[in-house]
């Protein structure tokens, strides 16, 4: 059994679907931050059998976690201060997401103008449907679009 120590301040992202932690690492742009990150893959989970966990030691105001709701809102976000869990953050779907999902519509203007940001707008909160801001193509749930 592998043991990763406590963090003083930051986040513990728990119940990540097994194998997805590296995707989230990149979506949160953790590679750009100069902080300690523990990526735990395939940890044992009573609920899911296997899960990934990310532990990020950083100022809790430095990360925008909205995107997690789009990726998988089953992820549990624990906010840590002074080594203790001070909050379990509720994930809220962002109104707009920039450069996370790529529009796959070959007729979309983004298919020929590479410098345009890929922007998806929350079209239906209940059904969690995002549509491309330009061509209104629905974002698919397939990971190939991420």
């Amino acid at each position: 059994m592998l043991n990763v120590g406590k963090i003083e301040e930051g986040f513990v992202l728990d119940h990540i679907q097994a194998g997805k932690s590296l995707d989230i690492y990149h979506h949160l742009k953790l590679d750009k931050l100069d902080c300690t990150v523990a990526i735990i893959k395939n940890a044992r989970s009573n609920k899911k059998g296997k899960k990934d966990i990310l532990k990020v030691e950083c100022d809790i105001n430095t990360l925008n976690l909205d995107i997690l709701a789009v990726i998988d809102h089953n992820i549990t976000v624990n906010v840590i201060k002074n080594g203790e869990i001070v909050e379990k953050k509720e994930l809220v779907l962002p109104r707009e997401i920039h450069n996370v999902i790529k529009c796959k519509n070959p007729r979309c203007i983004t298919s020929i103008e590479q410098e345009l940001p890929h922007i998806f707008v929350l079209a239906d909160e209940e059904k969690e449907i995002y549509r491309c801001k330009y061509c209104e193509e629905k974002a698919s749930n397939s990971s190939s679009q991420w």
Partner: protein
């Protein structure tokens, strides 16, 4: 500064004002003959569309303005690889308003986000063609005297036809509209539209034969089965003659039913129907000019 990307960009009240203005133009065109003197409309057409482009140009010329532009991407700087954003910044220096058609969906929206002048989406791929929808609405309002309180049959290519999807989205904002979708099963209206109608408790039916529903219709909106929407010639040839409106079929229709068509037609409406007073598709093209005149005046904020 406002742009027009989608027919729903304007509220029902704003559309009413636009259509009132279009009807005033229709009643007294001379009064508006100099309204846009000194103003220029740029028609930036990255793909050919003679009808829409000429309608925009006629609208601006009728208002006393001038027009400039290009009518296919090959004769524009796009052929050299210029982005839509750069092109519109340049066009903003030359003209006061721009009508843009582009084969890529969302291109006019990109232009609008960078433009110093109002941009009108004159058709972007299979996505939106708002001035066609405004034309359809103005035609119905002018000739029926109301928007709402009717049964409309939409016939032909309901799967790919953006004018149909756009018109449905525009009409559901009005009260007591019910829809009859008349198409072969291969070209049925997409599920997201029927799902939306069900959710909003808006009555609709899907039928196969045009003859069966004719007596129930207040309006019949015919569409062309577009060759360019098919991947192979065989499918196109098999389906294109499915729904042809001729005198015999029209004889079952009410005396006050109206037949609309976004044009061009191929053979889905027999020419023998053209002289029937219920056939209003050529009048519809005339309303297209009036609504574009009203739109240009509105977006340029010219008092009238």
């Amino acid at each position: 500064m406002r742009h027009l990307m989608n027919p729903l960009d304007f509220s029902v009240e704003e559309l009413d004002r636009l259509f009132d203005l279009a009807n005033r133009i229709e009643a007294d065109p001379a009064r508006y003959a100099h309204a846009c003197e000194g103003k220029k409309l740029a028609t930036c057409f990255y793909e050919p569309s003679t009808r829409t482009r000429l309608s925009f140009e006629a609208a601006m010329l009728n208002l006393g303005g001038q027009v400039l532009g290009f009518s296919d991407a090959g004769s524009s700087s796009a052929a050299k690889g210029e982005s839509v954003s750069d092109t519109i910044r340049i066009i903003s220096c030359y003209a006061d308003i721009c009508a843009m058609r582009h084969p890529k969906e969302g291109a006019p929206m990109v232009a609008a986000s960078r433009s110093g002048i109002p941009v009108i989406n004159a058709g972007d791929g299979g996505h939106q063609h708002p001035t066609q929808t405004l034309t359809d609405l103005l035609t119905i309002r002018s000739l029926k005297g109301r928007l709402g309180g009717f049964t409309i049959g939409l016939c032909g290519d309901l799967k790919f036809g953006r004018t149909v999807h756009s018109l449905i989205n525009a009409l559901i904002r009005y009260p007591d509209v019910s829809f009859l979708f008349i198409s072969p099963s291969e070209l049925k209206v997409p599920d997201y539209i029927t799902d939306m109608l069900t959710e909003r408790h808006i009555p609709y039916e899907e039928v196969i034969r045009l003859e069966d529903c004719m007596p129930r219709l207040d309006l019949l909106y015919m569409t062309r089965v577009q060759k360019e929407r098919f991947f192979n010639e065989e499918d196109y040839v098999r389906l294109k003659d499915f729904y042809i409106l001729d005198k015999a079929k029209l004889s079952a229709a009410r005396e006050d039913m109206l037949v609309l068509h976004p044009l061009p037609r191929v053979n889905e409406i027999s020419v023998e129907v053209d002289d029937d007073p219920r056939a209003v598709y050529f009048k519809q093209a005339q309303y297209g000019v009036y609504v574009r005149m009203a739109l240009i005046l509105t977006l340029l904020e010219i008092e009238n």
